[in-house]
């Protein structure tokens, strides 16, 4: 059976006054039905753009999809006519965003908004839709949903608004849910509630989930497979367990090192990545991580590394995978911070 989603060499650029922002540079991956993919990376590395481009939700201009394919159920979304896209968006693929307030209409009550999505997408009558809305809101954990449907978005807390977004997203039983940092602006305890909710809905409805975040903990909690992005490239990809246990790319190693482990006490300095995130306007010819990489060599400056297999289903885009592993084995404390200066 072919996978649910196959992204091949997707390339997206933004043509701005200041120059061309190459936000996504030929990424490829696939996702099976019911599977969970986590995408991590620093702010601006192209996580959102890569997913929004699949649904053609980036502003064009300045954005443009420069090439590649996005096969969903065997259909190429990139070549699909704009008019046909609505059957996919909000139907087979649903999206939830970081800021639910921005996606909710402040002057329409919650019930009407969810019901509207249902009538539009499923052709229910208004009464049926309202009934279904209450069911859905109850399912996503909004207490006394019958009464709360009359409330307006500002009367809901951040976590509850995110639940409403989830209710809307699952209303037409999507095959794929894209969650773009839906918990970033929420408190830890509420974040845990939302993660739990999505996980249980996923089991119940059998949908696939792409979860975008910069919190490695969230990824560890829910993703089976992980793509690590840097400057518009996937620089490491693999099963979550492998990546967390045996990271291969120096960036991933540094990223994991920057999060204090539960058993590490403060006496030990954190491993960290030197330097600053890359300037997307001026992409290097070679490896984009080169300026911050403690293991870099001559070759890294000149040629861009492709993903090479480093394990079962596990790839890393680095010229010096072997050397890095050797150094790691020699002394874990120095990993990733060889050129470190706090």
């Amino acid at each position: 059976m072919s996978p649910l989603l196959q992204v091949r060499n997707l390339e997206v650029a933004f043509f701005t006054k200041d120059g061309v922002v190459r936000a996504v540079n030929g990424i490829s991956y696939s996702l099976e039905e019911g599977d969970t993919l986590g995408i991590v990376g620093e702010s601006g590395c192209g996580k959102s753009v890569s997913c929004m481009a699949m649904l053609r939700l980036i502003p064009e201009p300045p954005g443009r999809i420069m090439g590649g394919q996005v096969l969903f159920d065997g259909i190429d979304l990139v070549r699909m006519k704009r008019d046909d896209l609505h059957t996919i968006r909000g139907g087979k693929i649903a999206v939830i965003f970081q800021d639910p307030m921005a996606s909710l209409n402040p002057v329409m009550n919650i019930g009407e908004q969810v019901a509207e999505a249902i009538t539009v997408n499923l052709g229910y009558s208004h009464r049926q839709a309202l009934h279904r809305t209450v069911e859905l809101l109850t399912r996503v954990g909004i207490p006394q949903a019958e009464d709360r449907v009359k409330d307006y978005p500002h009367q809901f807390s951040g976590g509850m608004r995110q639940r409403v977004m989830i209710a809307m997203a699952i209303s037409c039983q999507p095959k794929l849910l894209i969650a773009d940092e839906p918990t970033t602006s929420l408190d830890v305890t509420v974040q845990a509630q939302i993660v739990d909710l999505v996980q249980s809905l996923q089991r119940e409805l059998g949908m696939a989930v792409i979860w975008i975040t910069h919190d490695l903990g969230v990824i560890a909690r829910l993703a089976r497979h992980v793509n690590v992005m840097y400057a518009g490239f996937i620089i490491e990809t693999g099963p979550a367990k492998d990546i967390f246990k045996h990271p291969h790319h120096p960036y991933t190693i540094g990223l994991l090192g920057s999060v204090p482990k539960p058993d590490v006490l403060g006496t030990q300095t954190l491993v960290y990545i030197d330097g600053a995130p890359p300037d997307m306007l001026q992409l290097a010819e070679g490896c984009s991580f080169y300026p911050r990489c403690p293991y870099h060599t001559e070759q890294c400056l000149k040629e861009r590394p492709d993903l090479v297999s480093v394990g079962d289903n596990h790839g890393a885009a680095c010229w010096n995978v072997a050397a890095v592993q050797a150094r790691l084995a020699a002394g874990p404390a120095t990993a990733g911070a060889a050129s470190g200066r706090a």
Binding site: D18, S43, G44, A276, P277, P278, D279, M280, L281, Q282
Partner: protein
Amino acid sequence: MTRAKSQRNAPETRYASNWVAAWRRFRRSGLAMFGLVYFIIILFVAVMAPVISPYPYDRVDYGITLQLPTWQHLLGTDYLGRDMLTRLMWGARPMLLVGILTGAVGMVIGVPLGILAGYLGGAFDWFIQRLVDLFSALPWYLLVLYLVMVLSPSVWNLILALSVSSWVGSCRLVRGLTFSAREYDFVEAARALGIPTRQILARHVLPQIAPLLLWGFATSIPGSVFAEAGLSFLGIGIRPPIPSWGQMLGQAGQYWMYYWHVFLFPSLCIVISVLAFQGLADGLRQAIDVNVNV
């Protein structure tokens, strides 16, 4: 994105580019550009009036009263046979003087009061607020009329009288701006660092709100221009023989039905000036817009 951009450190240019960007936004509005060009021209005319005006402004010639435009008198003559063009050129002087100085005096009074009220809050703020309320509730036209009559009409007294109410606007604007500037993290940081209040206001708050003050200043000009014209029209503004547009309009009163030029040209001057200054203010607002949001 800002983060990505700020990586490329090009020292002076980044700061300069703020001005370039502001200028670009300003230029986008046609009315603003018109206002700017008009301002430059009218300033030149006002300053150079003695040199470039074709006749002395007070040369009376009963032989040529109320002439329509001719080659000798491009915009015709008034009821005393004085050259209209000359008088309009001289009329730019009180217009600018009143327009600008009224705003300036208003600022001199309103800015310190507004800043202190906004920053200190509490009883002082309450007092200033009530004062502002009082002055904005007063029928200011009457107040000005009364003041000018008591003080005897002259440009300076007119400016003084108009300033009595113009400070209210700048005070209110500055108070509001300062009130929100007080919440800026860097102002709080300065407080935490023990910087004296005076220095916080001068170095942190004022520079932050200065661009908006410039805008506030520009928006106050059209009102003053109108006020000057109105009061001079009523004969209690600029005293003859010094010409002013409003005064010229007032003198056109009995003749305008038959001699359109004595009415039309001063009116045009007033209307165009008001429009131009409004355009200028609008352009300034657009230009500074982004800079203000830290």
